[in-house]
Amino acid sequence: MKTLPIHGQSPRQPGERALWTSLEDLDGTARGPEGEFPHGAAEAPAALGRRSFLQLMGASAALAGLGACHPPREKIYPYVKQPAEGLPGQISHYATALSLDGYATGLVLTAIDGRPIKVEGNPAHPASLGAAGILEQAALLDLYDPARADGFRSRGLHLAWRKLLEEIAALAASHAKDGGEGLAFLLAPEASPLLADLRRRVQARFPRARFRVWAPLAEDQAAEGARLAFGRVLDAQPRLDLADVILSLDADFLSGPGDALRLAREFARRREPGEAMSRLYVAEPALTITGAVADHRFRMRGSEVAGFARQVAGALGAIPAEAALPAGREARAVAADLLRHRGRSLVLCGPRQPAAVHALGHAMNAALGNPGETVHHTAPVLGEARPEPGALADLAREIQAGAVRTLVITAWNPVYAAPAGLDLGALLAKVENAIYLTLREDETSRRASWVLAASHPFESWGDGRARNGTVTLQQPLVAPLKESTTAVDLLAAFLDEGNRGAREHLKALWKARSGPAFEASFERWLEQGMIPGTAEPAVAAPVHAEAVAAAVRALPAAPPGLEMAFARDYSLADGRFAPNAWLQELPDPVTKISWDNAAYVSPATARRLGFRNGQRVALSLPGRSLEAPVWIQPGHADEAVTLALGYGRTADGPVGKGVGVDAYRLRSAAAPWFEGGLSVAAAKGEHRFAVAQGHFSMEGRPIALDFTQEQWKRESHELDELRGPEPSLQEPVDYSKLENAWGMAIDLGKCVGCSACVVACQEENNIPVVGKAQVAKGRIMHWIRVDRYFQGPPEDPTVIAQPLACVHCEAAPCEYVCPVNATVHSDEGLNEMVYNRCVGTRYCSNNCPYKVRRFNFLAWRGEAAPTEKMLVNPDVTVRARGVMEKCTYCVQRIERVRIEARARGARMGPVQTACQQACPAEAIVFGNLRDPGSRVSQAHRDPRRYDLLHGLGTRPRTAYLVRIRNPNPELG
């Protein structure tokens, strides 16, 4: 029964390559021979045929149960030579890292029997602090993706590794003759010291070779803004835990590259009610998770943020009056609040804003005395590997001019993500040797003459730097599952050192940079996953006020009419995670749409244009046009349309192919984020979204509770109705005699709604992916979900997120209705779900008032590729078709801790659930309610505690803590 992580693996013929063909069925694009079953009602499940037949046969055999029908006995294959360490089935943890957008996040990977099965944060690492985001965690699925690129080929011919090295050596030698005149590199932004070192050495060998750094979602405007404000590029390093008042100018700092986990942690720590509570103002166009937790959210089009910033800056006196704009009521109040907290306030500026706004942000921080307090500045961590605006355009010009003979691309998928109008695909054909290093066969690999499979970060050596500069080491957990190489080896190949191995390069570099006791230190660094004390030092950075003022004055006014805005997608980032089924299925943290992007518009704009949800519309900008389905998003700025990037893939494996629409086709190099002059017209057809949450109003029910500080002072007693004992005919079971009584507390005030817990749970508990059609049918399998509710006017609502998994009711309504005792209570108060006993009546799910139970309607896993079987957590039963499943409070972790402690005769240590561990905001607390000192016990005694649906008398073990907001009374 222990099989596979992904639904829809079709049975393959022997010898056939592992292809995820059947997942195409799920996303609604299948036009194969199976097309006789229309989508929706009449979908044929993917795993037909042999497997189902065997199941039926198995069933009849079980019923007959007679005769010599024993299954064949299993084989046991022991080691030939026992390795020195590790027991079969024992967990081992390795520190490693993953770099996204150039910055490394330290991770700890769990491996069992040599297979990495779980990604967790590295508590010692400054960018993780023990948490892990959705992308870092889901990257593990990419590792096992059977559709990954495999091997090396040049002009369609497969090359063995050794042969590849020879070919590159020959190529390098030919370029070396003219100093690398025709040699160009298109690199991804990457703070890796090792890559920087190799780049320097390659540059030294090929002095005339050109290096370009490019990424589709580059933060180049921030760098430009720093240059404007400080005269040189500097990184700002904010400290939210020290900030009393925060103004975010289109900065969704709780998600996105580099530092979101740390910022979420710091932000959440200041969200407990009282004097120390921070206050967050957010000005943004589309609702983000940061906007959702703001105390005041000002919705405005992206191009209007600059104007708002000028109003605030003017009221602060940060810029001369002629550069400022007259402040409105809101800007005045914000400025006054910021001024009241000089040195304890913070202005953050989002990467989508133009350089002048970034500069203005720096000026405001300077005027408020924040540098050195809530923000400090450092030399840019990316160093030379900073993306340059126009890098791609320059490269295109050179190719056009025939100046590039060899182009080495380690940047991700430029053909797909290049701005509209730049036909890089056609240009690549002009390059004699376009060498593309890629994890998957994608749009670019189709056009490149050389395609080299890249190793996954979890199977290769490397390094990186955290956003604060801390050098982070990336060590592999498995040998590459595919024949592949790394950027390090590829660059080294141009130095004729390709065969030395990334590990040797890494050690050589750090041996040179560290002291004599290198070997010992290196072992220690690997253990810690980083080199301590390597954070970038702060530098003093005076702001050039006149330059800022000049730049601000030069800012154009917001253009009238509809504005097109592009956004980084929470799940797919720039699109590189499109082949990742976990991320595709993960509902968008704000809209709860899974397997899609959509053109978000505000309710008012939709009304004006007469648009309905799901209606297809044509979005037109000068010379470009795209059809996209509309999604009416409360809280969106009026007269603007936001579309997330990264969808509408045409290559890159079957999972992401054809999901959503490709916003890059609409995105120009000149206005990469906001562009005015959008015209929209209704197009033919209706789009069916797969939305994981169908209803966003609480209907006046006390579900996800939210008070302002003022209300909390007056009305906190109202919570008494939602907690404490309820009269019952049944005497509650006494748990006081046991050592443990497990419980959980979820602090809605801390939760930022990022959904990291959902992916953590999916990874830990072998939760299958079901595909778009099944999500649309209401069959998503996530054990923990993050509900999002809107309150107040639909135009500008208050937004609250509520993570919800099984709450482990002491008087569980699901249990007494199960006819076969498949769900019962454990002695320690867990609501147990026994898959192997379940016959699948679904009565428990019906009677669960929280609707947290998930049913295996079909054989979600089908047949998995061999690599995907490696992903399965062996501590958790893989559920068969026809059984119910749900959150177990990670009982496998509880039992592992228990057995390991008690086998040694020790007492049980603390247990962490997967969701708790991943949560960057520390909103989820799990532990022993019998221990009065445990954090969960304290949370259960918190005055903010309440029980969800308390009146039903279910006595949930998961308690909620109400969210308190801290609005500015002046804006009341």
Partner: protein, 219 residues
């Protein structure tokens, strides 16, 4: 005399009753057989010596050589699985003794080719049962309790039924199956004196709580 019109001869009474009884009995016997089958040693695969790719004789190794179980099954007190010895472990001795024996040819072949010996599993619980050797061994359950007198088996066979009710019986009342730590691997240990009292004492000493919550074994 009226014409003979009767449909059924007298034997029809017997036949009809017998047929009905046969149908009823047949149904009961079928159900009972299916039900009973799983209770037979055959249904549970007990008492079926399993032939292995190497003619390994536990009798010889345990009795004659007096090798402790843990020499080969080394992870039994630390890990979930008891551990099947690596080929290397076999050759620790057999590179010196019987190193020319044709019976050990598969072992040497494994060692030199690097391919593991395909041992055949004898004790199998379903995949949804999470059995952990370490906790049982450390809490005083001896090898012989579940695996029987391996020292008397030429080829190992399953002795215990390995059914859930068998597991539950011990989890409900572990005392009688506990033994002192030094006797865990003994095949012959018998308690002197009061078994029940010893069981109670060992329960206390080991801090044993037999749990029957489902997630003890099913996760």
């Amino acid at each position: 005399m009226a014409p003979m019109s009767s449909l059924f001869r007298p034997w029809a009474n017997l036949l009809s009753r017998f047929s009905l009884a046969a149908v009823a009995a047949g149904a009961l016997v079928t159900l009972g057989t299916v039900w009973g089958y799983w209770r037979t040693p055959y249904g549970k695969r007990q008492g079926d010596p399993v032939s292995q790719p190497v003619l390994f004789d536990h009798r010889h190794h345990v009795v004659d050589d007096a090798i402790d179980c843990r020499y080969c099954h080394a992870t039994v007190d630390r890990g979930a699985s008891a551990g099947i010895p690596s080929t290397q472990t076999c050759l620790n001795c057999h590179s010196q003794v019987w190193n020319k024996s044709p019976k050990l040819e598969p072992v040497r072949r494994s060692y030199f080719t690097g391919r593991p010996i395909p041992w055949v599993r004898v004790h199998k619980v379903p995949d949804f049962v999470y059995f952990n050797h370490a906790i049982h061994v450390n809490k005083g359950i001896g090898c012989v309790t579940c695996h029987g007198r391996v020292d008397r088996m030429a080829a190992v066979e399953q002795v215990a039924p390995l059914t859930m009710s068998w597991c539950l019986a011990c989890h409900r009342d572990p005392g009688p199956n506990l033994r002192p730590p030094e006797q865990i691997t003994s095949m012959t240990w018998e308690p002197d004196g009061d078994r029940a009292a010893l069981g109670r004492e060992l329960m206390k000493r080991y801090d044993v709580h037999g749990r029957t919550s489902c997630t003890t074994c099913h996760r």
